[in-house]
Amino acid sequence: MKNIDSRSHVRGESIYVNDIPVRQDTLFGVVLGSPVAHGKLHDIDFSEALKMDGVEAVISAKDITGENQIGSIIQDEELFADKEVHFVGMPVALVCAKTDAIARKALAKIKLDIEELRPILTAREAYAEKKFISPSRTFKIGSTDAMWEKCEHIIEGQAEMGGQEHVYLETQGAYAYMLENGSIKIHSATQATKHVQVGASVVLGIPMHKIEVDTNRIGGGFGGKEDQATHWGTLAALATNTLKKPLKLILSRADDFVMTGKRHPYSFDFKLGLDKNLKILCYQVEAFQNAGAAADLSPAIMERTLFHGTGSYHIPNAKITCHSCRTNLAPSTAMRGFGAPQAMFALEAAIMKAAATLNVSPLEIQKRNLLQESDRFPYGQVAENCNAGKCWDTAYKKFAVEKLKKEIAAFNKNNDHSKKGLSLFPLCFGISFTKTKLNQGRSLVHIYTDGSVSITTGVVEMGQGVNTKILQAAAKTLSISPRRFTIHSTNTTRIANASPTAASTGADLNGKATIMACAALLARLKDVACRELKGRDPDKIEIKDEIVFHRGKKTSLKWEKLILLADEARVSLSEHAHYATPEVHFNKATEKGHPFAYHVYGTAVTVVTVDCLRGTYEIDLVKCVHDFGTSINLDIDIGQAEGAIVQGIGLMTIEELLVDPKGKHVYDSLSSYKVPDIYFAPKTIEVVPLDSKPDKLALLGSKAVGEPPLMYGIGTYFAILMAMREFNPKMKLPLWAPLTHQKCLLSLYEGYGEALK
């Protein structure tokens, strides 16, 4: 089945927050962000702005009727800066005006009196000054200390990985208006309706039941609208409640870039010990996470860094430490992979460095250390249905890696100006929220008397096709035509307390809940059918393709009639179901447990060509064998994988974030921050589903797919390094992602600049 939204998408008829027709008297809000990264806010003077025609009000911390607090995990984040500013772009005030343009012009008239303080910009700086978001944590298995002396080779080094801007095509935004009796409705571009509801409730000081948050769909999220949509929904609600007028707040791309957090930059110290057979005996890594100015989701992201510290490998002695460091950047936040890509990059960097030092192929080290069935992860869980080796072997054979290697060697021999490189990247990614509490999904299913069905779940559709999968699961459970369904907007009045649509879990949690709701409805309908058919055992009733079967025989009773009979018999045609993932648990005191419902495996083969005269590169191919379980929708799943791969490649190559010494982003727009375009994408992407077993905790056996394939992009980094080493075998290995064109050229000609002087 094709994505159920695709028809309205291609006709331009899909509705995003900014497309909701505005009510009369709607005001438009523009946020004034702090111009400095760190400082004392002594005074805000709006008097000149208020004199402007069309400016209705300027709202700031003093207008907050509840608490000035939107932190979700740790309550350490102000909605509006009050006494201090902590990052460039931190909201200081909201101008509310008759048009967006007027509001924007008014910004220039607001005078801020800020006493600048020295900003901290890197994680290591913050670490040195003991500025932490939350206590550091360590995962351990075996004993690294005792084992170093048994290692034949010990490789130490540093690796760095920069942040990444989400670049959801739809910028953040919200539209809020008053309902009656002091209630407020917020249309929010969020992945987490509950977060916006809680944020508004706390800031306005009114109970959650008076705040209705509705999300029809969002134009991409990638984690960026999990915690960071709360600000804008809450600001819109605050202004609406203060002025009693509707207010629309859509961030410009420039504001979105500056004001919202990004993927965490990380810095690593690693130490890898191997025996003479290239078996990894020991791995120790210390990760410095640049969390930005407030906790946001950093503690959870740090946790995933720890969980994925050993990647797709079995390492008997490992010690993984992570420090969540407070700096003066916008609070770093969730982004596809959620701390895992950084951890995996560090380990691959260590392996690459070991391979280069020992003059062996990294593939040798990778292959010898892949996870096997029943291997234990440092967090206590054991690998079950482990497909690491199977993915590697299948990819190796299917994509003819030996042949590729020969072709590449021949190419490199015959070409001086360009070189090719190859890498393999093995993936293992755990599925579940690592915070066990969040592993719950909800679904509300109504059957109307004409036989059509409405479904609302806690999940937000952001292009990942989750609503299509949920519809498929419902249609399969009820055995009726998909045409009978509408999946409605995610709304806090229909689904309360929803977990965010995150951690790749949306389909599993909310799909399972939908199946439960449909199964309950089906059971009641079977009772009705049984009575109508004068049967005795409702278990002998089945519905197949909208027709009721009794004891295996087709009857004349059809779906629409059955629904009317149920209504006539006063049987409820509505069901709300709640699903909580079984089996998952984790003890933070011991750092052991069984945090994941299951793991997703895969292996990617990447070939690149580096233009050694220009220091640029092209990605020839990315081919992967990926563990989808038993996919219920390969169109959607392969689409997710392809998109994630390209986003992951962007992360590792051209997507560069840089702040100046004052904490301002140097690349702060789509003209200077470049994400992959159609020409940059690999010439070939092939995603081959692994012949895999269904997992019972996955939706109809179809494993979660949103995040895992992103990490295949890591392979591109190392394929480029391999190609560069063909041109300049003596270069110092750059282990600092992204590997931009700049780094590429300078490494290719390392030392040449000196010769000039």
């Binding site: 094709k2 998408h9 291609v10 331009g12 989400h166 986003q647 727009s669 940059f680 994408a681 040449y752």
Partner: protein, 481 residues
């Protein structure tokens, strides 16, 4: 009062002509299918089609409605995604759905419109490379593009008439999917476009009488406008006297006379890129200009605008400096000429009064002894501004350089005319030694202010590549080691 047609409806408006077309489409006409993703032409979500009568034919091009001043819509046909919708899905839309070319959907209307730009472009062969180029100004963050490429391939297939013998002979420039048939009519007949398109030429003739629009002599000159709304997204240009020259047909042509090429200032980058005459002189022109902006921007951006803008990384300026071009400017009935190398005087500052109009740019046509090379390195490769761009033009006598011009962008407030390096090359044969010495001189001519080590390395590499392209074999990698 501006008058134009939006989809199947004529509109008249007194909205400020320098405000953004996308705001008019969304806020005044309430057509929400056109999305705003960046307001700087870097994502393509706001792509629309602009149709106008040219030489008695209705021609459509894609443009970024975020960058397009409303004044440039005057007397034209503006088509938004709503304007291609019919009761059923069109073949373009079906291709995207069938190939899973849409996920979150926010970029999708822009892709649909760019694909229509491809279908409607009579000057381009209907092959996959051209279809992909048509969407190369559209960013999608969800799909990774592979599914969109498949959709584009499906559309290319649908554009090939099934009957044998009706296929466009490859050696001829096709005017549409079927020879002799305007693409628009063919597309209507084959349900790509709604029927109302057939009546558009007559409607346009009514609101846009034939005859060249004369260039006014006063007002702040705006051509394609691609930088105006970028600098002032809130419409700081909404008041004041704006002189829209984009439609000045007199200067929308390329002339050849007396061994010189005269490029009219309102010639667009797309016109240059597709000019068969120019491509005969500059075989790499199509590829070189593919590195400049995106198709919708190339459809808007003019040669005169690129020069007058005075950007330190203007791709055309770098090329024209290497051709030692001259400008003809006009003000208050008076013409004057200025060498391009004397034109750039500071960051976005040029030797020109705001009301002074660049009419023509001319340069000597290359002969068989002339060589020309353009290089551009950016972060991504396409739809990206140069980190460093450069161009070199030389004339050889045998294997000795007789004339040389070298220009480099991205190194400071203005594009550098590398006169010393060019002078050094005179009388030299291309060799490793020549490169090494030229590079030392070039490095002395530049003072990059940011990313200096990288930019110096790029100048070195580009100089090497230029010389290598002029005399393959005369210069080798050893010169770089």
């Amino acid at each position: 009062m501006l008058t134009f047609i939006v989809n199947n409806k004529e509109v008249k408006t007194n909205a400020p002509p320098a405000s953004s077309l996308v705001d008019y489409i969304r806020n005044e006409l309430h057509l929400y299918g056109t999305k705003i993703g960046c307001r700087e032409g870097d994502c393509g979500a706001c792509t629309i089609l602009v149709g106008e009568m040219a030489g008695g034919e209705l021609k459509y091009q894609t443009m970024n409605s975020c960058l397009m001043p409303l004044g440039n819509a005057d007397r034209k046909h503006i088509v938004t995604i709503e304007g291609v919708n019919g009761p059923d899905l069109t073949p373009v839309q079906t291709a995207l759905i069938e190939n899973n070319g849409t996920q979150c959907g926010f970029c999708t209307p822009g892709f649909v419109m760019s694909l229509y730009g491809f279908c409607l472009n009579a000057g381009k062969e209907k092959n996959l490379a051209n279809a992909i180029e048509a969407v190369s100004g559209n960013i999608c963050r969800c799909t990774g593009y592979k599914s969109i490429e498949k959709a584009a391939a499906a559309i290319v297939k649908k554009l090939q008439p099934p009957q044998r013998g009706l296929l466009v002979p490859p050696q001829r420039e096709p005017s549409g999917p079927m020879p002799g048939v305007m693409p628009m009519e063919w597309l209507v007949k084959n349900k790509f476009l709604p029927d109302y398109f057939l009546a558009i030429p007559e409607k346009l003739k009514k609101i846009a009488p034939a005859g060249a629009a004369a260039v006014r002599e006063s007002g702040y000159i705006v051509a394609g406008g691609t930088d105006i709304l970028l600098q002032n997204p809130e419409g700081a240009m909404t008041s004041g006297n704006v002189n829209f020259v984009y439609g000045a047909r007199e200067y929308k042509r390329i002339k050849f006379a007396d061994g010189k090429c005269y490029v009219g200032s309102t010639v667009t980058v797309k016109d240059l890129k597709e000019s068969r005459e120019l491509r005969a002189y500059f075989p790499r022109l199509d590829d070189d200009l593919k590195l400049m902006a995106s198709p919708p921007i190339r459809n808007m951006a003019t040669v005169g605008g690129n020069i007058a803008n005075g950007s330190p990384i203007g791709d055309l300026c770098v090329m024209l400096l290497a051709l030692d071009a001259t400008l003809i400017l006009r003000r208050q009935g008076e013409n004057r000429e200025v060498k391009l190398k004397d034109f750039f005087i500071g960051y976005k500052k040029v030797n020109k009064d705001p009301e002074e109009f660049i009419q023509w740019i001319y340069f000597d046509l290359p002969d068989e002894n002339t060589r020309f090379s353009f290089e551009k390195i950016s972060k991504r490769g396409h739809l990206d501004m140069a980190t460093v761009n450069s161009a070199m033009g030389i004339t050889l006598a045998g294997d000795v350089i007789k004339k040389a011009h070298f220009a480099v962008g991205g190194l400071g407030p203005t594009i550098r005319n590398m006169a010393k390096t060019a002078d050094y090359l005179l009388g030299k044969k291309i060799s490793n030694q020549t490169f090494k010495e030229a590079n030392l001189i070039a490095q002395g001519e530049i003072t990059p202010r940011s990313r200096a080590e990288y930019k110096r390395a790029l100048v070195r590499q580009q100089l090497f590549i230029h010389l290598m392209s002029f005399a393959p074999g005369a210069i080798s990698l050893e010169a770089l080691q």
